[in-house]
Amino acid sequence: MFEGWLSIIVFLPAAAALVIALFLRDDARVRWFAIGATVLNLVLIVITYIGFDRAAGGVQMIDRYEDWIPVEGLRAEYLLGIDGLSAPMLLLTGLLSAVAAFASWRITHRVREYFIWLLVLQTAVLGVFTALDFLLFFIFWEIELIPMFMLISIWGSGRSQYSAMKFVIFTLAGSAFMLVGILALFLSTGVDTFAMVSIPAEGIVGIPEKVAGSDLLIPAGVIWFLLFAAFAVKMPLWPFHSWLPDAHTDAPTAVSIMLAGVLLKMGGYGLLRVSVGMFQETNGFKVQDVAWLLAVLAVISIIYGAIVTIRQTDLKRLIAFSSVSHMGFVVLGVSSIVGVGGKVTDAGLNGAALQMVTHGTITGLLFLTVGLVYDRAHTRYIPDLGGLAVRLPLIAVAMLIAGLASLGLPGLSGFVAEISVFLGTYEVWKWLTVIGAFGVVLAAGYILWMMQRTFFGPHNERFDDLEDANFLDMVPVVALVISIVAIGVYPKIVTEVFKVGISELVRI
């Protein structure tokens, strides 16, 4: 790929937003243009993903402008690139962005503004996953807030303004800590770089190498917690999760898909790239020292999230809480970084990375189908539903596939990720893993019960005149089903790349 390739991918949605803002007036044309732009971007991202050289590894397709902020004392670069960790995340973002654009088909309120914000949001998320300069990473991380605020508060339902503000405040508080952490890391003697990874070909020595064995400006443990706070809020990990159910419940369908599918993954990605990647050889404090804390928080998230999920009566709120539980598996996998006898098996970390992708597609599909149900039945209140499968067979099947994947049915993608997490962590945290595994049992409970109450049960006359999904509704559904089945049957398409990234991440 030529230089500038990644920049094109990252800024293509923003450019499309600009075109919509300046030139397009007609709502139908805006829709098609936005969908076209996201699909085109997905194609570019797939090309990128295929072009990623698995054998060579390292950081590839580098975009670099050294003199972005060239002053003494704060030398930040414009540095984009992908490695084995970020390439699949880029693919996930591209896929879900296109799905979200399709799922926005039925938006009729202030259509132009809606698609402008949705596209800006995509640029921000793509930027987070490709930026390799810590300050640039932070900038993209922050830009994402405003589109989300607008999307939830204007096009949301219920207490959308409250939820949007809560989302912004939680995330801003988290990133405030992250900013101080980043600055403290950068200003430590001997670090003076914002590069998040080393790139030998470009002569860049990254933070992971520089902090190895050196004393930091403030104790490394404090910096770790400052950075971790931002990722924990974003993921979200118990006890920082309370913004998520509100935001999900009140957001429009496509925004829920983006939120659950890719925005939460920013937290997981940050946890792997920063909290794990940079703190394995620091003096005085190492990520291994707090692996127990990660494991404990993860298990609490898994079990607490699952138990709360069972009690939910709103479909979207139910899926939102199940996300808390499922993102717990990511953290549980990450906690295996401590290893046994000084040796880290990468199964846990690989499982954590894979869980991010599978949860992204599965939850994306769940929210998509809930959106389709809500568009027709005009309620998400489970006791009011029931017997929908007769009238909406296609939607029911799609949701059943997503549900079964979510509870970890073998052959679908959720199973591979979760079994990999358990294999990796069982040797390290025997009892915690056993407790965490109950999360899967609970998942089977809440998913099947939810399916039973929503789609099956006695015939419901109120829903007799509902129409099943049409062709346009099914395009994103089919795309996600294919990806779920594909990863379930042949996980290598993703794990092969993740393996490369994880092996470079683990330094001990």
């Binding site: 405030a176 600055l183 400006l217």
Partner: protein, 494 residues
Amino acid sequence: MSAHDLWLLSPELSVAALGVIVIIADLILEKKTPLIWISVIGLTVPLTFALLLWFNTPDPEIGVFGTVTADRLALFFHFLLIGTTAAVIVASVTYSRKFAGFQGEYLALMLLSVSGMMLLASSRDIITAYLALEVSTLPVAALAAFLRTDRSLEAGLKFLLLSALSSAILLYGLVYLYGVTGTTDIGGILDAISGMSADGGRAFGSSALMLGVVMVIAGFGFKMAVAPFHMWVPDVYEGAPTPIVAFLSIASKSAAFAIVLRILYTALGSNDLAADWSVLLAILAAITMTAGNLLALTQRNIKRMLGYSTVAHAGYLLVGLAAVAANSDSEGFIAGPQGVLFYLVAYAFTNLAVFFAIIAITNKTGSDLISGFAGMARRAPFMSVLLALGLLSLLGIPPTAGFLGKIFVFSAAVDSGLAWLAVVGVINSVVSAFYYLRVVRTMFLDEPENDERVTADIPVWAATMTASAGLLIFGIAPSSLLEFARHAVSGVVT
């Protein structure tokens, strides 16, 4: 006064002369609108002088018996002040019809005030600085009362009384500095203090010196709008004409920061002293940020809210001032003041954009209440976007200049061992999200009172566009401005 002195003072003198020309033209001209264009075009003269000085004086030149300098720092502020004033004047085109017949006085007073502010940035003698401060303050008191409504008169009177009080405190502090060191020259004070340290003791002990420092900071704190000297801010902001509020919040504040930077970093810049006053500034910064943001939360009037916001921003700026070399590991550490200068420019563009957008909208709606902005995104889509952009820059969301400004001052703070202050700063930024985003939400979400379009006049529109473009450009490509700021501070920091 030699020709060389005139040359060094040419920007200040030409601005003052312009003020006089405007008054005379006011007597002659029937229509008052041309006065605005005379002022704006006239401002290119001081700008040219400042540019010539920048390129012709590689070394800081001193004149008028050593009381005035035209060094890089002074010129940096001259550019900032001239630019701000020109923008404010352009944006006053429609607004100044509210005091029809007095546009000449309005412009002349503003220009005279600016000449005082520019002199404040140039002065390297504490007596000159005091005089310059008075020259800059008195016209503003008249300008604040210009609307001649009850609130406006109250604003003018309040500003006048409180500025007199703060001037007294400042003067008292300056007397202490003179008493301890025996000189009013800023460079001389530095020499005197370092001489005393070498002798093993200071006349009257360093507590007398610190008392002077405290009172100087308190005196200038009034102009900088630092808590607890900010009491005048909300009332004056609410009552004064909106363009004057923009002028106060940017020009007046910048000039005060210029002289504080010079006094602290040059006269009192020796390492042991700096370590002392940096603690004082750090505490003041924390109080100011917190007070400004908390008080802004409950405001219903947008000018009052921005008044408290300007207090909060004075706090962020103090964070940068508190980041001194004395507490940092690196030699020649200037990240703190450099960040302050960047922040001031970023803040200038941002606040200009915000106030101009408000002027454009309230010119038509006539209400300063935040609720009056309901649904403005539909009535004035373009202005609403620009106003939202400005508010996001105040909040510190990338890719705006306000975000980078915060990054620079906070990183300087962390680097000089004030990590706790940076934490207070970022938490404050989170708090500020409430009230900035509330305005954005009101504009984009709430139902408009009616569907009547709100259109901006071309001058206001152009001024808002320029300011918004600046805040975006410096938010995306900050390197040239940072380099400029580095030049400006490198000669001042000892």
